[in-house]
Symmetry: D2
Subunit: 91 residues, 4 copies
Amino acid sequence: MEDDAKREVLTRLAKIEGQVKGISRMIENDRYCVDTLYQISAAQGALERVAKETMRQHLEGCVVDAFKSKNKLDREKKIDELMSMFSKFGK
Amino acid sequence: MEDDAKREVLTRLAKIEGQVKGISRMIENDRYCVDTLYQISAAQGALERVAKETMRQHLEGCVVDAFKSKNKLDREKKIDELMSMFSKFGK
Amino acid sequence: MEDDAKREVLTRLAKIEGQVKGISRMIENDRYCVDTLYQISAAQGALERVAKETMRQHLEGCVVDAFKSKNKLDREKKIDELMSMFSKFGK
Amino acid sequence: MEDDAKREVLTRLAKIEGQVKGISRMIENDRYCVDTLYQISAAQGALERVAKETMRQHLEGCVVDAFKSKNKLDREKKIDELMSMFSKFGK
């Protein structure tokens, strides 16, 4: 991952850790479930953005290299990996 | 799209049309909402499979070509498109 | 389902049938995969709105009744059903 | 939230905090993007399970109470909240 992208992603992950701690406190303090659910949703959205940034770096880096490769198996393997990522993330 | 993949996807889409007609009938006949929701979910799953097949064909075809291209802008454009697809589908 | 909601949902489903037919034509005519994927995404969004309307009717109707019931098992059964719907839809 | 459910959810959240720390380490150490993406997906799945448990507690608690209420506005408000949760989570 490039240095700028790395720093940004690490800052986001530190913030997500704080959000998860906050959710624990809300549950300990019996806060209204719907408010807790909104916080969980915010943490999920933040993780999704980290996933998208990681995916973009992956596409720009190793996928471009693999697709340039003359070896058909290398390309097939990357496509299978992308399809699997595509099933795990997105939306 | 290759001929085999095309035929398979078209068969699936014909089946989805039938599923959508079936959902209309369930609503007309005041069937239990939860049963209707299961049918809607089945149609969504079937559309998702068509999306995945289309995505795979897209990766194997034009994305591989674009990533081989020496033109960085061509590659960037395909990556942006993939990221946008990734946000629309998956899971 | 109330008559107004029913009519609206049936109109939407007729439109979705048209969208699915349109996707078949796009694939037959070898249209650019990304354009086809946008159409699939539009049909999925439309089905999702039908699911949400059906869910709302379900909550307003049978779930309210079941939750008023003094029978704890009736309530539990509805909650399990809702949790299962919640896993199938949403987002 | 009942005590047992609370303890379980807090244990899960502590584990998620650890997972998020682990993702930071993977990015710092330039681990293969796809491995990092699998870890992000695991953390998302774990947060989703916390959301579902919180949602179930919410349904069993305040939603059942609100639906028993004779005040139609109380019931409507809870339904709107549920529909909003339903859009944020699920799948």
